[in-house]
Symmetry: C2
Subunit: 286 residues, 2 copies
DNA sequence: GTTCCGCATGAATCGATAG
DNA sequence: ACTATCGATTCATGCGGAA
């Protein structure tokens, strides 16, 4: 490992993009300056070609210094959302995520909630002793019992739109509505008509985006978008220390939040630059 | 607590019902005699009036002697399914489930998989810092890497893809293909035709049962039914050490499995007796 | 313009094979 | 014995071309 390290930063509109090791960049950031951290770190032994490929046994030790810095840079009423899933090793689920939660609590984090991301189109395959894995964890950590949460921002309005669409509601539309509200599979549509808005639960139904176009994001933009709306307001600062192709930052900018991204891998950093430049020019879609 | 303990047992058809402390009853059971354990133990600090209310801090210590006995009475190729969810204490998720998994592995259990039960109609309510909790864990533990799993028993109807693909294939085409046996084509087509069903994932979508006749089961019968079909065959032995009103046992009997239930609380035991008597008389519905 | 269909593509996992 | 690599398995999704 290098003792010396360098990082460069590029500002594009409301986005600040760092190219370098996230631990180095985080240590240079001021205390209590971030409203929301949303990230999906490289999973253990995954993406070995682009990232180092952390062994499951070393994962907790590798992540704890990073989470310590995130605790410092987060505002007291801010939130840290961690998208992660343990892999199967020798026919058994690894335990590093469980151990990570326990160790982060010792650091001072509060484990407030665990959201479930139900991946409707999960990876195919068949095995004699296992079904396809169709869910991932979104762990919510906080510094304090009290934190900012804007529940109304993720409520789904059920006004004229639903009524006009209900008649010719095809399967696609129904599925899309399911993924927005997360309350099931289309049976409740009639009930929704009577209400203006529906509250979501802690189960999210989103399909992974299709990677036809070379942009292969680990998660769909709707995922960070949902948490950005839930935990931040316009002008707030969103940080992704493992920015990858910049999906989290794009979602933040589209919602008029300020975005900070860190990415160590050169090709991903350049892809992120390209994506953010496009996003900065494009009109904001709400 | 009593030093002495007693338990009584009632046999009704293929069901053996014990009234007593589950640890006492389990210790009297022979080794390797159970194919599937499916249970939903009293949650920490829940059901205080019936079970005494185990404090979250004591939960792991309380459960480990029981899981040790379950490990003993389970057949080597059997499965233990544990339905559990951590409760919120002081605005934070408790960690006893995480700790329980880690401790059970030290006992010799293998943590094979974690299924998600998505409760479509979850408990209503609204809180300023939390959404409704719409999911629970079904933890799958095994003694060995190899265990019995009958995946075909839980296959589900497939999506549009295969249907549309097969519809366009007329009978003539199909027969022409079939006649080409030996060239490899016929066999492939035959496999496609069977493909009207797909394997499920590790996310289950089941609604919680409505409180029918004054007594609401902790979980819908479909939940144990799914795992009973997946992990056992007819004639196998299903055990629920916290049988409650007997939902797991009813599901087992309906699938022609033998059932063993243990329940310490008198009113629940009698309710279970009544339910099982009814189930024993009722025709088996498949 | 619609609707339909073909196709590539995944934060996967297992078992066998090779060093 | 223990680890690294490879092929086979499988299905929801969106895009692009065709009817």
């Amino acid at each position: 490992m290098n003792v010396q390290s360098t990082s460069t930063a590029v500002q594009i509109g409301d986005a600040l993009l760092h190219h370098g090791d996230c631990l180095d960049v985080l240590r240079a950031m001021p205390d209590a300056s971030v409203d929301l951290v949303f990230t999906s770190p490289p999973y253990a032994d995954q993406r070995r070609n682009t990232y180092g490929g952390i062994h499951p046994d070393d994962y907790v030790e590798w992540f704890l210094p990073i989470s310590a810095e995130l605790l410092r840079v987060l505002k007291p009423e801010g939130t840290f959302c961690l998208n992660i899933k343990e892999k199967v090793v020798n026919g058994e689920r690894s335990t590093y995520v469980l151990e990570l939660i326990l160790e982060m609590r010792k650091q001072g984090w509060r484990w407030t909630e665990e959201f479930i991301w139900h991946k409707k189109n999960c990876y195919p395959g068949k095995w004699p002793n296992r079904f396809r894995d169709a869910w991932e964890r979104i762990l919510q950590f906080n510094r304090q019992k009290k934190f900012h949460m804007y529940q109304e921002a993720v409520m789904v309005p059920m006004g004229d739109w639903a009524k006009s669409r209900l008649r010719k509601l095809g399967d696609n539309d129904r599925k899309r509505m399911d993924s927005q509200v997360g309350s099931g599979f289309g049976k409740n549509i009639a009930n929704w008509l009577k209400r203006d808005k529906a509250y979501p639960t802690n189960v999210l139904h989103l399909a992974t985006e299709c990677a036809n176009k070379g942009h292969s994001a680990a998660f769909p933009k709707d995922l960070p978008d949902w948490f950005i709306r839930l935990f931040t307001q316009e002008g707030d600062v969103v940080l992704d220390p493992f920015a990858g192709s910049g999906t989290t930052l794009e979602a933040a900018l589209a919602r008029k939040r300020r975005a900070i991204g860190i990415e160590i891998h050169q090709p991903y950093f350049e892809l992120m630059l390209e994506n953010i430049r496009k996003a900065a020019q494009a009109p904001v879609l709400l």
